[in-house]
Amino acid sequence: MDKKNSFLKRFRLPAGLFFVALILPLVVSEFWVHVFTEIIILGLFAAAFNLIFGYMGQLSFGQAAYYGIGAYTTGLLMVKLQWPIFVCLPVSMITAGLGALILGYFCVKLRGIYFAILTMAFGQFVFFIIFQWYSFTGGDNGLQGINPPMWLFKANAYYYFSLAVVTIGMVLLYFITESPFGYTLKAIRDNTERTEFIGINVQRYMLINFVISGMFCGLAGALWGPFNRSVAPDLCSWQNSGHPVFMAVMGGPHHFLGPMIGSVIFTFLNAFVTGFTEYWPLVSGLVMIIVVLLMPGGLFGIIKSKGYFETKAVVLEGNNPGDTGDKKNE
């Protein structure tokens, strides 16, 4: 009885969100269904990014590369070979994962700012390859004609399809973060040296995590292509890599649903602001500064919902290692 209650209690928030997501198309106009599709796809992207950031403590400024690889894989397969979307999605995860494996192999040798810059450099590297390889990828033109199958053509249909895929993705990610693997990541984040001392091969864990993150970034990208009916090299740009960073920071990187909530706020804001001004960079820059300076820990950090989806390993109430009263990681 107790177990059931605490289970329900723990998953109140995600269940609530999922319920709202389910009934959404029934109450809002088609335009907002499009916006919400965008929100959940980008939310998956941000959550995948957060595996490296919130859970492992490193800042990758180049995850858009794997998002883009996933998007282009699906795009190319659907346009040139007419493969069905169900096959394209997992294949995109594989190609994005491969990309993450090759590039990540080098990235995980570094930490801190060097890690960040190398991921950025690799992101640009992927961007320019896609951009210059005109004959294969269509270059700056991008790829058009990425049409989902007839039964997913309508906005509501694609929305529910994306919701299903994103939910499965998030559930998988959640299991990964709550597994021993996930806890090891948090240990690496909190104290890399000590984790090495207890015999964990930190680099190998970081690489595996990098690949997993890349795969789910690729999955998000794969959903994006058919949604937009086209892909363009901009998907891999460093500016696009910045979006999941901002979403994770805004929602709260130390909570599993933080990135998704960040996506809700950011995308809403974008859709709303661009409706009446062309100075979206100015507005988004100001919002970013306000969030970073005044809302450390993001939205969830403010709510301070202790207990569920906490990424910080909690051993005993109030007696945690590293609890020096410094609220930095809260």
Partner: protein, 294 residues
Amino acid sequence: MEFTFLFSQFMSGLTYGLMLFLVASGLSLIFGVMNILNFAHATFWLIGAYICFTFWSLMEAHQFALWVSIPLAALATAAFGWVCEVVLIKRIYKRELHEQLLITYAMALILGDLIKIIWGPTDRLIVRPPIIQQPLHLFGAPIDSYFIFVILIGFTVAIGLWWFLKYTKYGHIVKAAVFSREMVGALGIPIPKIYTWVFTLGIFIAGLAGGVQSAIGSVTLGMDTNIIIQAFCVVVIGGFGSLMGTLVGSLIVGEVFSFAILYWPDGAMVLIFVITAAILIVRPWGLFGTPLRA
């Protein structure tokens, strides 16, 4: 390939490299001393270019217009940079890496739009004074005479910074802060003031570079996002906080680019990123950086 042709390419690469040096030296300095990777650095550069244009257009009729506008632009940009440091950058020194990156990125966005609001979307073009309208001929190769000026400024700034760091008291303090800010603070030297002035100096150089750039082509929106990544590459290759490194890094990038477009035009940018990545993997602190900085 004949010598004159190779020499022309070399000179173009040298000029491009020195322009990158001017943009990147401030970036490297700021990172070396304060550990802040200033995403908005190129935007300050662009502001310098626009301000220079505005000064120039006020004095258009006079021959000396350009030569006066450039230092004025540098000063104006530095003043603006000083304001930004005091208002915003000051608050992020103790923050985490991701917060610093996001703040400087946000600043780049805001300043970029500010440029658009103030100067609008029209391209701005400076008409060159007659003295630099004709090409010079060196070793039989035609060289844009303005480039001589760029090269002079580039080397002057390099030598000036070197002399500053090596021979002046403030320079010594800055160099020491690159190695260990704690010790410098422990010696009773006010770190926040040092940071403010280093940042302002870095932005001064960026503004100067912008002024110099304004006479090279037209000044347009978006030039900053184009060049900031290249500046990052330069700083990575050369090593953060190292003046020599930034100079060598910019020359490498400039010449690699200049010759790559002859033989592999599609791959010129890709090549730059490959080199950057290689340096990060093999020697993350760059060719001339200090391994102590991690």
